[in-house]
Amino acid sequence: MSQTDLTMEGHSTGLTVGPAFSFPTKKLAMWLFIIADTMTFAACLIAYGFLRNGTANWPRPFHSITNVALMTFILLTSSLTMLFGLRSAWAGDKAGAFRWIMITASLGIVFALLHIREWIGLIGEGMTLFKNPWGTGLFGASFFSITGLHLTHVTCGVIALIAVGVRYKGGRYNADDIEVLGLYWHFVDLVWMFVVPLVYLLNLAH
């Protein structure tokens, strides 16, 4: 057996037996994505804090916490239903896992609709990306950027939940795929925990 054969055989074995770095490859990829996405959101939120801190007439347009409290409740609950889906998948209950994943997707849709309703309300009050009736125009740009980025993540998550759920039900995906998708969904929830106090609660009109 030549050195080349040995190398090729070793290479092939390394690729096919066991996950890279003793860690499931899909899960590792998702964690790396989450770390990168953490940097994106952190950069946005820190830039927002920079602007808010350095601007004298920063608007405080939010008079009610009802909508944002409801959105928070829905997103937190969707994380719980995602966990239930994962536990069902681990237990081999395919129908149960699919049902919980679809419930999670439905909660994500409700969250997105509430978010869009809130945007429409603010736009109706005269807020755009570059101006608003309450103070510096930077508020609209930062608000729509941060919440828009989060809403994009929620929308992508809902699409992924439906796609992965259907494929899991059809037998093409397994519980590991549900776990990887769950990581993404919980991350979206985790980001919201920082968006709410910084973007909403610190801008309540007292």
């Binding site: 770390i35 350095g54 601007t55 925990m193 609660l201």
Partner: protein, 104 residues
Amino acid sequence: MTTAEEHKSNGIGKDLAIYACLLALAGLQFVIAYQNIDAPQMFMRMLVVAVVEAGLAAMFFMHLGAEKRGFLLFVAVFTIFVLLTLQYGWTDSYRMVTGAPFSK
């Protein structure tokens, strides 16, 4: 039984307990928002609560606590390091407010 297997076999009771904690902490943030304190103090209190919430979500909902210690350290050290390096601009932000020392 490995740590991951132990985690899988845990019932929904733990999930519900963490969920209740997260709801309570989220509620606490709303309570802080109505406290009669100045903005920096309010910001710090909310940030501490958010970090605790994020920690609970990462450790239990995302099962980071059940992963290998090496991976947990990799995620924690890498993320915290980059988050800390992002803080370099605050002094300039305060300079914009006070106009000092460069604008004088």
